[in-house]
């Protein structure tokens, strides 16, 4: 039998919860009780109805047919008087009783009218001309009455009071706002902000504002004639609107023996304390001490309750809401979130005020996160601040960017402001619109979108923007991609776990790893696995050629036209006339289309067809420079002390020694090194994966984690040593630590900051984990296993290893310079 779900309250909370339940396919027999004789309307929009910018029909959320269409029994205009928790029944004021299996209380709140003498007439409710501002009926009556009168006083200078005052101006000529506190919106704003707002309200809207004005009496015999304040002042008026806050409608619950303080007490599942089948949501509920009077928390609560009740996620939890407020008054912009003033001595506070323009802004930062912000008069930054506040985003170093658009690449945060056709990924030419439509077609993981569009798959610098666009387009429903932590996408394991499994099962080939750990083989995972297995097993690694990327199959770097580039080794960038002559002869003999000096101080022969590679290597008869692999590439050096007037260390000799030793070592990413003979840094050692700098006194500084590609980073100083021998040992140890611990394609500039230079130093220099000897031994084994791949040229390793894959048709060619 279907469970009977009874909902007391047909306001925004009750109806929204039911909508969420229906959206999750919840199968209940639903009965709803509403106090007001209508379907369900958007109470927030009553201010707009009062202001005349929206008519009544526009604010209805669900009309009566929605209830019928969804099989919901609605008792509109029927108030529930009592709940029997034991018999599981609710009793209405008309005497009917309704049984339930599950009960949701969503009775909301009502306007709080302070006990001011004269507000009420015995037996007749409010004094004629006195109105609360809460329901559609209140609003209708207020408009009707105001149209026939001249002067209104609004009691209460909070959000609602301000909106009421502005709305009333449409119906009568003179409005005064009386606020008991020292400044407007005192719950959300500090004094300076509230005072700025007051001036704007007075000067721009022509509403008279009285602060510190405690109303002590409402005057008038038959109809109101004015209000009297504590200081004796009398403000004449004929309409009074009371907007002094709200109180939860929890009396019925209290009378039914449910726990009530300021609201009905609920746990993280919105279940009423100590009850199994009774829940409360919205403004009548008190969760972790908070009773919310805004709509956003209500949406969050409704989702959790629906997840829980329908069993979609029985353990869904509501942890409270970050409250952000916006004032909806035309011409007066106010937004506030979180703290209005700093609370701790070390809270960072930025304040900007330009009173003449009615502008006041502040932001409050704690531990690098936004914990409060106020914007009065200029809310341009509100979207970014709300996002940073909600999600705890990292904040810009330049704190002023929180308050102002400083120009420059504002791409940093405002994805919502980007045009659809704006190019996000400049490598692969992917626009914001393409990313959004991929998300809308159902792909809701960042890596999934990157795979589908190739956005962020070039140099990678736009990844964070791609991520923010996906998050924004998915409206906070981004799915976590578990594969983000895998070493390669095809094997569901992080690197340490994967390495353990490989050792445990003695997996020595890429196909055996798939067979044992991953199921189907995955083309995108092969290269990373091949690199890892080679590093782990050395000579025992079973080399399957299909696991190699084309560059590693033919020991050359593929070019845009399918030809290859050949870079012979030139240790430390030092060459000889004989070597130069040889290269020149080979280039002439094979009519090499382009000869180019590389950034790594070598000579590149470009445009070599695949089938000619072995012949070119043979003619060169020089070792491979490894300018194609995820491997140790080069050691760039300066002239050092031999010739340079400034050199303080023999950088060339050390560079050559490093390259001699670590040539060809494969790793998770490229390894580019440099040794420079003095801090002038001619060899650019500060921005290398590992850079060595000679300093006066025969010492050498070792920097790690530098980069000067798409990402630019100065390396972190690992240590300073006194001899080239120590540099060679520590270089090997650091590179081995990187090889064993970095993720696939994670360069040192990402690896070092991720692990932390202190940790790296502790392990590599101070041997804090006692693994230095193991690292050295593993590197020694890799060094010992080195063999120049260009020597393997007489017999192809596989059939057709050097067979052309070039098409016969004409394709875009790399331009050849004469």
């Amino acid at each position: 039998m279907r469970q009977r779900l009874v909902v007391i309250g047909n306001g925004m909370a009750g109806a929204r919860t039911v909508e969420e339940i229906l959206a999750r396919g919840g199968d209940f027999e639903i009965t709803m009780f509403g106090d007001e004789p209508y379907g369900n309307y958007n109470r927030i929009m009553l201010s707009n109805v009062l202001a005349g910018v929206e008519d009544e029909s526009g604010i209805f959320l669900n009309d009566l047919s929605w209830y019928a269409d969804n099989g919901i029994t609605l008792h509109a205009g029927t108030r529930i008087e009592r709940i029997d928790r034991f018999a599981k029944r609710v009793y209405a004021e008309d005497g009917t009783e309704t049984p339930y299996d599950k009960l949701i209380i969503a009775t909301g709140s009502r306007a709080f009218v302070p006990p001011i003498p004269g507000a009420h007439r015995p037996g007749r409710g409010y004094h004629q001309g006195v109105f609360a501002f809460r329901t559609l009926d209140d609003t209708r009556a207020m408009i009707r009455y105001a149209k026939e009168h001249e002067r209104a006083v609004v009691i209460g200078g909070g959000l609602l009071g301000l909106e009421a005052a502005r709305g009333l101006q449409n119906h009568l000529p003179h409005v005064t706002l009386v606020h008991a506190m020292g400044h407007l919106m005192n719950t959300q704003l500090n004094f300076a902000a509230g005072d700025t707002l007051r001036k704007t309200i007075e000067e721009k809207l022509g509403i008279e504002v009285v602060v510190d004005g405690m109303t002590t009496e409402i005057l008038g015999k038959h109809a109101v004639t004015g209000v009297k304040l504590a200081d004796g002042r009398v403000i004449p008026c004929d309409v009074i609107v009371v907007a002094a806050g709200i109180r939860a409608n929890s009396e019925m619950a209290a009378a039914s023996d449910l726990p009530v303080e300021r609201g009905i007490l609920v746990d993280d599942q919105m279940r009423v304390q100590d009850e199994d089948d009774i829940y409360a949501v919205g403004e009548c509920a008190q969760h972790r001490g908070e009773v919310y009077g805004l709509v956003a928390p209500l949406w969050d609560q409704a989702k959790v309750l629906a997840d829980h009740l329908t069993g979609v996620n029985p353990l869904a939890e509501y942890h409270g809401s970050q409250v952000a407020t916006k004032l909806k008054v035309a011409g007066v912009d106010v937004a506030a979130m979180g703290l209005k003033e700093p609370e701790h001595p070390d809270d960072e506070v930025l304040t900007f005020a330009e009173p003449k323009k009615g502008i006041y802004k502040n932001v409050i930062i704690r531990d690098g996160r936004l914990v409060g912000a106020t914007l009065v008069g200029d809310v341009k930054k509100v979207a970014f601040l709300m996002q940073a506040f909600d999600r705890g985003l990292a904040l810009p170093e330049e704190r002023a960017e929180l308050m102002f658009d400083l120009g420059g690449p504002a791409g940093e945060v405002k994805v919502e402001d980007m045009a659809d056709d704006e190019q996000v990924c400049n490598c692969n030419g992917v626009s914001k619109g393409t990313i959004c439509s991929t998300v809308q077609s159902g792909c809701k993981t960042v890596s999934g979108v990157m795979d589908k569009t190739r956005a962020g798959k070039g140099c990678g610098t736009c990844k964070s923007v791609v991520q923010r666009i996906v998050e924004w387009a998915a409206g906070g429903e981004v799915e976590e991609d578990p594969a983000a932590s895998y070493y390669v996408p095809g094997i569901p394991m992080p690197k340490p776990e994967l390495m353990n499994a490989i050792r445990l099962h003695e997996l020595k080939s890429v196909s055996s790893v798939f067979a044992k750990l991953g199921g189907d083989e995955d083309a995108k995972s092969k290269m990373g696995l091949a690199s890892l297995l080679k590093m782990m097993w050395g000579g025992e690694y079973v080399d399957e050629r299909d696991a190699r990327f084309i560059n590693d199959r033919v020991h050359a770097n593929i070019q845009r036209d399918g030809t290859f580039s050949v870079v012979p080794q030139m240790k430390g960038g030092v060459t000889t006339p004989a070597q130069l002559k040889r290269i020149a002869e080979v280039a002439e003999k094979h009519e090499v289309p382009m000869v180019k000096l590389t950034g790594g101080q070598r000579i590149d022969l470009l445009g070599i067809p695949k089938e000619k590679l072995p012949e070119v290597w043979a003619d060169l008869d020089m070792p491979s420079g490894y300018a194609y692999g995820k491997s140790f590439r080069t050691v760039k050096t300066c002239v050092g002390s031999d010739f340079c007037r400034f050199g303080v260390g023999d950088s060339t000799a050390l560079g050559i020694a490093l390259e001699e030793r670590y040539q060809g070592i494969e790793g998770p990413g490229k390894m580019k090194l440099a040794v420079t003979g003095c801090p002038r840094n001619c060899a650019e050692a500060y921005v290398k994966d590992l850079g060595v700098v000679a300093i006066d006194g025969g010492k050498w500084e070792i920097y790690v984690g530098g980069a000067a590609g798409a990402h630019i980073r100065k390396g972190d100083l690992l240590t300073t040593v006194s001899s080239p021998e120590e540099v060679i040992v520590l270089t090997g140890r650091f590179l081995q630590y990187y090889r064993e611990n970095a993720n696939w394609l994670e360069r040192t500039y990402a690896f070092v900051p991720r692990v932390g230079i202190d940790k790296v130093r502790a392990v590599v220099v101070d041997d804090s984990e006692g693994i230095a000897a193991d690292l050295d031994a593993a590197m020694e084994a890799s060094v010992g296993a080195y063999r120049d791949p260009w020597k393997d040229r007489d017999e192809p390793a596989t059939p057709g290893q050097f067979r052309t894959s070039l098409p016969l048709i004409v394709l875009p060619q790399v331009p050849v310079r004469a």
Partner: protein, 98 residues
């Protein structure tokens, strides 16, 4: 249907390009022993697909790492689709055509 090459011309898990009537066709030998055939030219920027890495489902172009479904030719990374050809194995011969 006609023979194009011997299966031994293509190492397991790799591809090779063959000229057929003035067209260039990439033939792949999957690790399960079956074969697939696509146009040799990447529709994105003309890369040599036979030099790409494959698995049982897809080929990845070596130039910009775009991916295509080997069976249908459909792009898996937002590019135009690539032509596919019927191909099978008869004894040791790779046969192209229906």
């Amino acid at each position: 249907m006609r023979p194009i090459a011997s299966v031994h011309d293509i190492p397991l898990g790799e591809g090779r390009t063959f000229a057929v009537d003035g067209d260039m066709i990439a033939i792949f030998r999957l690790r399960d022993g079956s074969v697939r055939a696509t146009s040799a030219v990447c529709p994105h920027k003309g890369g040599p697909l036979a030099d790409g890495q494959i698995d049982l489902k897809q080929v990845i172009c070596p130039l910009h790492l775009n991916a295509w479904d080997l069976r249908t030719g459909c792009s898996l990374s937002g590019q135009p689709d690539v032509a596919v050809y019927p191909v099978s194995i008869d004894d040791d011969k790779i046969m192209l055509g229906d």
